[in-house]
């Protein structure tokens, strides 16, 4: 392990929550403006997390503590692996483990709200994970490698051969960021979903841990988006910004779907777009 790697890990671990928190704050501000409200300060997510850390520790059972920490560790690890330009598939599996532990923590409590939230979270994972795998495989088909270090050597931006896959990634992104219309397991801001869905039984410092983990995940999914235009940094930043703004707009104009609608719509549209793009890769 050389100095560069250590630096990359340190930057990923320290900067990601700051970046993720600021993105969440901007998200809330822009959402408020879209709804004709003034909105909270940009630093509001940090206030929320600090307050939650200061709250009393109230748990239903010990599993929740373990699950919250494993979820955080998995999220940190995905970002660290990405900073080290590691294997996309490895990153994907680490992400999946984190998601599963969030669900286990919710299932550990007997509350019906958290149970339903957990089942819905599982359905959400079932919906976006095949699509995410298809995106990664399509990147492999174009660049010949799953390793981010190899992908970054590819001469042209990935968005050109994989334009449709970017839309597929957009579906996965919407689910992962818990945005409408796919915020069926739990939701952000003041939106409510069967109390708070999968997060109902997490409270105080453990909710803060999950919130921080979510910031890491936001950075991770935006990093995957950034991979699609790795040749030029300003265009990459513009692409990621535009994608996130589109997410916010979609969040504000859509009503929440039921899980059946989500599964049917995301899989049919996602698989169709993937099929078209895979055909294009072979024809090209």
């Amino acid at each position: 392990m050389n100095m560069e790697n250590i630096l990359a890990i340190a930057l990923a671990v320290l900067l990601s929550p700051i970046l993720g928190g600021v993105v969440a704050g901007l998200d809330r501000k822009i959402t408020a403006r879209l709804q004709g409200r003034y909105g909270p300060p940009i630093l509001q997510p940090f206030y929320d997390v600090l307050k939650l850390i200061g709250k009393e520790k109230m748990i239903v059972n010990q599993w929740q503590i373990l699950c919250a920490y494993v979820y955080l560790m998995a999220a940190v690890l995905t970002v660290v692996l990405m900073a080290l330009q590691s294997d996309l598939l490895l990153i994907f599996f680490v992400l999946a483990v984190g998601g599963v532990f969030l669900v286990i923590g919710a299932l550990a409590a007997p509350s019906p709200y958290s149970q339903i939230g957990a089942q819905r979270e599982l359905i959400q994972m079932l919906t976006y994970e095949p699509l995410l795998i298809l995106v990664f495989v399509s990147i492999y088909l174009v660049t010949g490698s799953y390793k981010i270090s190899e992908i970054l050597k590819f001469p042209e931006p990935l968005l050109i051969p994989l334009a449709l896959m970017y839309i597929v990634l957009g579906y996965a992104l919407t689910i992962k960021l818990r945005k409408s219309p796919f915020d069926i397991s739990t939701s952000h801001h003041a939106h409510q979903e069967i109390v708070k869905g999968v997060l109902t039984e997490y409270s105080g410092p453990y909710l803060a841990i999950i919130e921080i983990a979510h910031w890491y995940e936001t950075v991770f999914v935006l990093g995957i988006c950034a991979l699609f235009w790795h040749t030029n940094i300003p265009i990459m930043v513009a692409l990621v910004t535009l994608t996130y703004l589109a997410e916010i707009v979609v969040d504000n104009i859509c009503a929440r779907l039921t899980w059946r609608w989500m599964l049917r719509h995301v899989w049919s549209a996602g698989l169709l777009l993937s099929f078209a793009n895979y055909t294009w890769i072979y024809v090209r």
Partner: protein, 165 residues
Amino acid sequence: MIPKKLIGMARTKSPWLIHLDCSSCNGCDIEVLACLTPLYDVERFGILNVGNPKHADILVVTGTVNHRNQRVLKNIYDQMPEPKVVVAVGACGSTGGVFRDSYNVVGGVDKVIPVDSYVPGCAPKPEAIIDGIVLALEKLAEKGKRVDQGIFERLAGTRDAITAR
């Protein structure tokens, strides 16, 4: 690990409230919800209306307490992690209002749980409700300091039930 001062500051900047309707006529509830609309927008103070007592810092109660729902009120209060404050909204929530002599009515919210700020009016204006919540925030900061020292204020008899979890 994190300075107590920083957490204390964050507490007053991020109060999440849960709203409980104890047999109100819905007049106060409409005014409470009006605070969330673009005209008043309490989110600019970081206030979120959450549906989960386990995430909430402020319990906003409207309406008179009666014999059927007093244990619900107590249960929701007990589920909130400390520090927490209670705001009684409206004449009914504060004292029992015009219903105080009814056979089924226990009285104001303070007959069941400790109340930190009262908002009079029937129904109070949204400005008055926001004012009451901001007053309660001062108490929240005080209580936060006590929680940092490890002092919890719970209703008698519920302390053991909660630590047993």
